[in-house]
């Protein structure tokens, strides 16, 4: 299916490093929350890094990306720094969104990562809209909506797939199927074995189920879908099977997951999968270890910088409502 050239060792090592940075950033968020320095809630993406990194590697810098409230990995995969993400979560003035968005709304428009949306499924029609816009402007940009398995049961998913199919738009719908809608197994509430892929044929869309923990598999599926989209062949649905290492959100210990299932998936860690691929390509454990060390140092530095950053500017509470920068509602 794919005409993408095979990922070579140096490129794969780079993707491995991106995943390693995301993994360590998410661990830092977890620790900072326990230390009382991150508040509200968080939905960590540990275990799902390969989807963001593999997909981004197959996209152009000007392609559009939309994510969910579990979106730290997508912001970073599109170029947001761990420091700016951590600062946002720690309510700092240097945060990615000036501390007005928080964990669930990380956005990095400079990388055309146009937002993380916390109402399930809401961003799928938006990705259809940016794809429509790309068509109107003749730019050959592709739009990608990443969403969870739970989103496949909400109306916006179906409205978005149908409209995208009817208008044959350059959009890729990527379901991160981590097997649980929140606390409930997706299979218990969905009349389809593959919640996204099995629905695609109803809209005459091609679908592919991939190992979401294999960065190469994700990359290859995305490269093929992006090529198809750019050539005017329309949307593709990709269902990437994966597993989250933590609970749904900060307050969820995920005790509802069977121990043997957790064990099985932890053995299929995206970092381990990539490491095995690297070693098969002749990259030494020592070289991989150096990348791990560099990722650790980068995130440690990001944590220190975020901690040292000034708190959110109170005046920002009244900026950015309107395009003129202000918030006046009356005369």
């Amino acid at each position: 299916m794919s005409s993408a050239p095979a990922i070579e060792a140096a490129r794969l090592l780079d993707l491995y490093e991106q995943m390693a940075v995301i993994r360590r950033t998410e661990k830092a968020v977890y620790d900072l929350f326990l230390a009382g320095l991150v508040k509200g809630t968080t939905h960590l993406a540990s275990g799902q890094e390969a989807i963001a990194v593999g997909a981004s590697a197959a996209l152009r810098p000007d392609d559009y990306v939309f994510a969910t409230y579990r979106g730290h990995h997508h912001a970073m995969a599109r170029g947001a720094s761990p420091q700016a993400c951590l600062a946002e979560l720690m309510q700092k003035a240097t945060g990615l969104c000036k501390a007005k968005g928080g964990s669930m709304h990380l956005t990095y428009a400079a990388g055309n990562m146009l937002g993380s949306y916390a109402i399930v499924g809401a961003h799928l029609p938006m990705a259809v809209g940016t794809a429509w816009s790309a068509r109107l402007r003749g730019t050959e940009q592709v739009s990608v909506a990443f969403f969870g398995d739970g989103a496949t049961n909400i109306g916006a998913f179906h409205e978005a797939l149908n409209l995208a199919a009817v208008w044959k738009l350059p959009v890729i719908f990527v379901c991160e199927n981590n097997l649980y809608m929140e606390y409930t197994p997706i299979g218990a509430v969905t009349a389809a074995d593959h919640p996204a892929a099995d629905r695609a044929p109803a809209y005459r869309l091609p679908a592919q189920v991939v190992d979401g923990n294999d960065v190469v598999a994700v990359h290859d599926a995305m490269a093929a879908a992006a090529l198809r989209a750019r050539e005017g062949e329309g949307p593709t649905v990709i269902e990437a099977e994966t597993y989250r290492h933590y609970g749904h959100s900060r307050t969820d210990p995920a005790t509802y997951r069977p121990a043997e299932e957790v064990e099985r998936w932890l053995k299929h860690d995206p970092l381990d999968v990539a490491r095995a691929r690297l070693e098969a390509l002749g990259v030494t454990p020592d070289a991989i270890g150096k990348v791990d060390d560099r990722a650790s140092a980068q995130v440690a530095e990001a944590v220190a910088e975020a901690k040292a950053a000034p708190p959110a500017d109170i005046a920002e509470a009244f900026t950015d409502v309107w395009a003129d920068g202000g918030s006046a509602w009356r005369t």
Partner: protein
């Protein structure tokens, strides 16, 4: 005067919607329309008649009955260089895509720290008086008023439809544009090319000294008719057409109340949480010393809109109800 051309004709409110959109589409190739039956069909209210013929399928897009996809796609397009004008056929159907009006469109700029801007217009046919029953007759401008981050326009005349449409489409902020079903057949002067009405500027459409009526859209002609009847009773009535709910032109309202010392709001939305409550709260807070009488609100009753004409009249604001309210404060 030069502004009144010799050949200036009249235009209906219905035709003014298409004319207002067409003027902006001729000006700016980034303006694109989408909605149900808006293309060759010209819209169920014929408010987009002629647009498909002039601009074709690359500018006028027929959609499925998918309100979330319509407004969500408009939002995405607006983020990336397009100025979409999305039609939601009846304003009641805004409830089908309310997530976008409540959670997505008004918040995205703020929660991204200003990284994402959505210059879009959501047009919709609003209001009652036509016997369409409870799910096709509501005046829901107060729904939008509950959400910080949306601008809200609701014109009462064809000229204002064109002038406010131009400002709404040119605005870099999201605008919910309420077109009133009960006004579609009304006629007025066709304004010259380039006619603009700034968002958030109310109009004093009748001057008076005894009582101020603040009205919006469909209630403006009701207030004007009431003012005529009140004049016959010796009560001089000033009528303010608010034109927009956000920005809300309290400067004009407070200046009028300073003149008349008496205020009645004339609203079509239900009394509970209607826009007049916000107007009144500001007047009482900042202009209490201006008032010589209690403030009254004439609004629709707090019941679903009934079907039968007689029942609908009973529930909605009428000239009789406005006259009675204005008299009660004038004679206080």
């Amino acid at each position: 005067m030069a502004s009144v051309k010799a050949d200036a004709g009249t235009i209906s409110y219905r035709e003014a919607v298409a004319e207002g959109i067409a003027r902006e589409m001729r000006r700016d190739p980034a303006v694109v329309c989408l909605g149900e039956d808006i293309g060759a069909a010209g819209g169920v209210f014929k408010t987009t008649a002629g647009l498909f013929a002039e601009f074709g399928p690359q500018r006028i897009w027929d959609t499925p009955i998918s309100e979330q996809a319509i407004v969500g796609a408009a939002m995405g397009a607006a983020m990336t260089g397009i100025r979409p004008v999305a039609e939601i056929m009846f304003s009641d159907f805004l409830a089908c895509c309310w997530d976008y009006l409540a959670n997505e469109i008004p918040k995205v700029r703020y929660m991204t720290g200003g990284q994402v801007t959505v210059p879009l217009v959501i047009r919709t046919a609003n209001g009652g008086g036509l016997g369409f029953g409870a799910q096709h007759s509501q005046a829901v401008e107060n729904w939008a008023l509950t959400i910080p981050g949306l601008k809200i326009a609701a014109p009462s005349t064809p000229a204002d439809v064109i002038g406010l449409m131009a400002s709404a489409i040119r605005s870099d902020d999201p605008v919910v544009f309420f077109e009133h079903k009960g006004l579609f057949a009304s006629k007025g002067l066709l304004p010259p090319e380039g006619h603009l009405v700034e968002l958030g500027k109310a109009a004093v459409v009748r001057e008076g000294t005894d009582v101020t009526l603040v009205a919006l859209a469909y209630t403006v002609p009701i207030a004007l008719a009431a003012a005529e009847r009140l004049a016959a009773k010796g009560i001089s009535t000033e009528v303010v057409d608010l034109r927009c709910l956000i920005p809300m032109d309290m400067t004009t309202v407070l200046a009028s109340v300073a003149k008349t010392s008496r205020l009645v709001t004339v609203e079509e939305n239900p009394h509970q949480a209607g826009w007049g409550a916000t107007v009144v709260s500001v007047v009482v807070d900042e202009g209490f010393q201006l008032l010589d009488a209690p403030v009254r609100r004439v609004a629709s009753a707090n019941v679903p809109l009934p079907f039968a004409d007689a029942l609908e009249d009973e529930v909605m604001p009428t000239v009789d109800k406005v006259v009675a309210a204005a008299e009660s404060v004038a004679n206080f």
